[in-house]
Amino acid sequence: MDAAGYASVAGGASEERSADLVLSGLRKTYGGVVALDGASLACFRGETHGFVGENGAGKSTLVRVLSGAVEPDAGTITLEGQALRLSSPADARAAGIATVFQEFSLIPHLGVAQNLFYGLEPRTKLGRISTRGLERAAADAFAAHDLRPLDPGRPVGELRLAERQLLEILKALLREPRVLVLDEPTSALLPEQVEWLFQTVRRYADGGGIAVFISHRLAEIQTLCDRVTVLRNGANVGSAPVADLPESALVELMLGRKLERFFPTSLPHERVRDETICEARGLSAPPDLHEIDLDVRAGEIVGIAGLEGQGQGTLFKALFGMRPANGSVTVRGRVAHLATPRRALKSGIGLVPEDRASQGLCLTLSVRDNIALSSLRTVSRLGLIDRRRHRELVDRAVEQFSIRLGSPQQPVSSLSGGNQQKVLLARVLATSPSLLLLYDATRGVDVGTKTEIYDLMHEICCGGVGIVFYSTDASELANMADRVLVLHDGRIRAQLEAEEMTEANIVAAAVGGRGTP
């Protein structure tokens, strides 16, 4: 069936009773960029409604509209027959809409209990906030929702990412909302926490709530949701019961075309050569990283897995001269002095960092300036930039990475997320590194671009570069890597190869169950 066929599913699914939450004809433009182009959403009480779309499809704008953070240029919102005007987050709260954002709304230096009941604090007779009452209420809230209790007085800033995310969800639930919007809530959670979330959301929906669940992980949509709505370019392209839309069909709807395949098909060992590119011995950066030995061969992709905060970040920083570390690193047989990123680049190591916007790109500068930033010396003569070489370097990169742009002079911020990521890759690869470090390089990138990045990784490896690839997505590692090292507590806990390198084994080794040798 083609995409158009699924779209007709949406038209065919005429509901017998009218929906309880209806968003229709939503439009929003940001200075000429159309974010929402007539998007709509119809949800019923008692259902969990999945909401998917590529990056830039307008999902986050729609969530912002629902939470009152952004007012649409046109369109209506109706909740249980009542028209709503959401001009501020306070309006949304008053209407009973609670949103759990990707960016956290907790106040770091306030305690767990204070955050949970912010604005709803139990008071003493004199109107003072009762600390004891607050702590008791927090303990009750944890118990009522089957959560392991946290110290109610502990400042939220000291909590781990996953704990903060759980707290955020609990905080939303405590407001007993009529609509619960969850924007990518699982990316920070451990598997058992995701399981808790699913149970909690199901219970909430069974109690007559309306849950809207946004996730990049389509498998989660399939497991949790009753119905799903797909957004593309700011408009709906389909809405149907989840059972009618298998994952492949969802992807097709999101992309608007058929995705032939996801990962490169060629067998990995064709490209791996028996030549060591990088050899790290006893790499330690206490207290986060201990005695890591790492070998990367030419053409090899070494996957790094592990739960959040097990030393992956430190390993990458140590390899790229951003964190002082003990131990030795050699690249192509030469000792690499990794005092600064500059030295690392000179030694032939390149890094695509975690956060594109804050660490990767100079967003206000042009595509050209960004691509050439690490290779200014090679395009210069006598201290001046040679315009011809500069242009050639940039044009070559734009072509090789099929970066879609109007002109290389346009600011990087005007490109889509996927194309920005390609600009970043282009900048790093323009330095011709021997070893490429990719830190979650596909996070927040849409499905289509992901495939392009996988192909590029494959192509780069065929050229003899070694890649160290950290990913939070185990299926990505299982499909792309030649070996996977699982980190735990700053040490390599397991190495998975060949047949044992499956998604399930990677997850199990990270969590510490099966698959641990």
Binding site: S358, C362, T364, L365, L376, I385
Partner: protein, 305 residues
Amino acid sequence: MSVLTAYVVVVGLVVAGTLYTPGFSGIGQLRTYAVQASFIGLVGLGQTLCILTGGIDLSVPAVITGSAVMTSILCHGDSARLAPVIVLVVCLAAVAGVVNGIGVAYANVPPIIMTLGMGGVVQGLMLVYTKGGISSFPPPALARFVVGRTLGVPHLLWFWAAIIATGAVLLAVTPFGRRLYAIGANREAALIAGVDVRRMLVAPYVVSAVGAAVTGVLLMGYNGQAYLTMGDPYLFASAAAVAVGGASILGGSGNYVGTVAGALVLTVLSALLIVFSLGAGWLLITYGAVLLTAALLASVRVQRR
């Protein structure tokens, strides 16, 4: 405001002045505006670089005054001493600039605090050194150079033209310039892209201090004397010129050609205020308003993103 707009404003102001007083745009007047603007412009090069990286140099007035005072005292009217004294003054200014730069880049002191403190130290040293009084005049060679002309154009303008060309090339087509923009746009990203952020960050403060020192010497020649408040107008003027020239006060965008336009705008504006018989108070109000407007515009632009 774009660079082009700034130049249009310059022309607009000159035309406005001419309509009010026909003599406003006489050749001699225009020459005077350009010479006065050149002082702002010379200080403005360093200020442009500092602001590009998201910083600012507040020690400019103290360095201008300090270098002028030192030159006048050490030369004591003797032209033969001029060259070595200038070398000494410029070297001392460079030291002050390096200290500013190291404080900002390596010790992570906010530029406003670092350069404010340095300005205080320089000013204090000067007071200690002069015991509060100066009675001196520039060496004749300096005065001759400053008022002299070649091919009908004042030497100062030739000198400024050379600085403009250097500044424009430095920012537009050297790796140094492109890296400065990268640091201003996103310091962390620049670091990861292999830019030696710390060492690069020292340079703008050195350029600024040296530029201020040279300006101080030339200004003393132009005024015929050194005095303890002579540098004061140039902090406001240089920062406002950068802002009027289209740079973002928050770093990452702007260029020296814009600052040149900014210097011209401010100079003609102050001449216009004099024509309208409005005093120094109004000049300050105008500078302040211009700077605040530029900062507001930059901030609005960032929030829109």
